[in-house]
Symmetry: C2
Subunit: 259 residues, 2 copies
Amino acid sequence: MSKLTSLYDRSRVPLYIQVASVMRQRIDTGFWMEGDKISTLEELEREFSVARVTIRQAIELLREEGLLDAQQGRGTFVSGKPKHNRWLNLATDFESMVASIRENVLKRIQIDENAAMPDLAEGEGKAAPEGYTFLRSVQYNNNEPFSVVNLYLAQHIFEKGREIFSHVAALPKIAEMDDVSIAHAHQTVTIGVASPETADLLRIGLGEPTADCRLVLVDSDGVAIYVADIHYHKNCFALRMDLLEKTGPRGGRKANGRR
Amino acid sequence: MSKLTSLYDRSRVPLYIQVASVMRQRIDTGFWMEGDKISTLEELEREFSVARVTIRQAIELLREEGLLDAQQGRGTFVSGKPKHNRWLNLATDFESMVASIRENVLKRIQIDENAAMPDLAEGEGKAAPEGYTFLRSVQYNNNEPFSVVNLYLAQHIFEKGREIFSHVAALPKIAEMDDVSIAHAHQTVTIGVASPETADLLRIGLGEPTADCRLVLVDSDGVAIYVADIHYHKNCFALRMDLLEKTGPRGGRKANGRR
DNA sequence: CTCAATTTGTTCGTATGTATG
DNA sequence: ACATACATACGAACAAATTGA
């Protein structure tokens, strides 16, 4: 009870869902392997400090997902792993980002030519004087949506390929334009929550976490020509990076440590 | 009603909390600015397709957080912004990662010398034959926890500085060891959920989202000497990277595009 | 000052969900 | 499976405060 209230103060999500989240994670990470018999109800009751019925609700949830199989008199067994989507491996440099986007299937769902200005943070360049066109699209993989892209494209860029931008991803096209210079390109990844529109498009619940990626291209005049807010489904997001890319291997028998 | 059930099917988080999440985000992103009068209850009812009382519960939640101020007869106003923690800007190369970790305050809370092997994925090197020591620590900033580090340190590395590793961050110490070579170092970022221990240490709810970072160092023999699973509080996590770091500016009047 | 429109605040009844023991 | 308590959500009606005509 005391534990319940303290947990409730922190999250307000129904307890059995919290419990189910943790158990799902255990299966996912292999802490409970497929075929294993998991702890008994009594052990779980004690571990989570909740009532038996609450544990059973959590198990029922995972049973519906096909992850658990409770058998009277025997125990509860792991009957499957949550399917990971993790298709995406977010690129960490321009070339590979363009390459990966080029392969994507996307559906353009909205275009507003006279859009409001995107609000640019420090270091994201200055706004294009001719204004922006707003483009929204959804990216699919195996017929399932995995990201929503909200893009502000500088008007003078958009006009170079009004037709093309309506149907294909903008970034590769921009990369191909010889008369467009890109002085800076950076992305910032954070964790956000799904707005009603995003939730709808990604088919997730309102307020569920998403991986939010802001991608900004700045031209040689310091103008932000491409400002994208991308919301990735959390299960489709992974970002792997090599930390020694620039410097190469370090240390070893003979200290080559600069510093 | 139909919308309710469909949302409920997707998330099962209480509706008023979902609504509050979205409204909090709107304040955070500046869609609703401080001092603004936000939409009326009736408009919000329609927008979210929920009952008046549900909207009021969401507003009450944000009122308690100091973000909204509802005034009878006048409207509801934005009275503050959610405090951003966002201290962290995760490093994307080895040098700066070592430097940033060096500055952190950490509390070592657990050490197990004969720990189970970490399960290594493809490309993460092979396990150290002498086994690993498990170290768990919490990193603080302004007295608030922002990350939990679960580290498997190869036994032969741990023994080089048993005392030191008990009190300070391991990574900078390893970087200083001239007789330790690091052939590969990479990290993978995903979105995870808080386990009971992590939730407790970060003071968040069970199953709440976290930014999970796996950091692996592999020595020149292909042995994983440092395997860390780091769970960041979602509000303390931001990862900014320059996409043109390697190639420099591209395009412009005269196409200099290599390929 | 009064009136009407607008907007938040409160309450009732009902149904279902969550959690305990 | 049951009894109990409380939380969540709906819809609707009414009350109270503010504003401007």
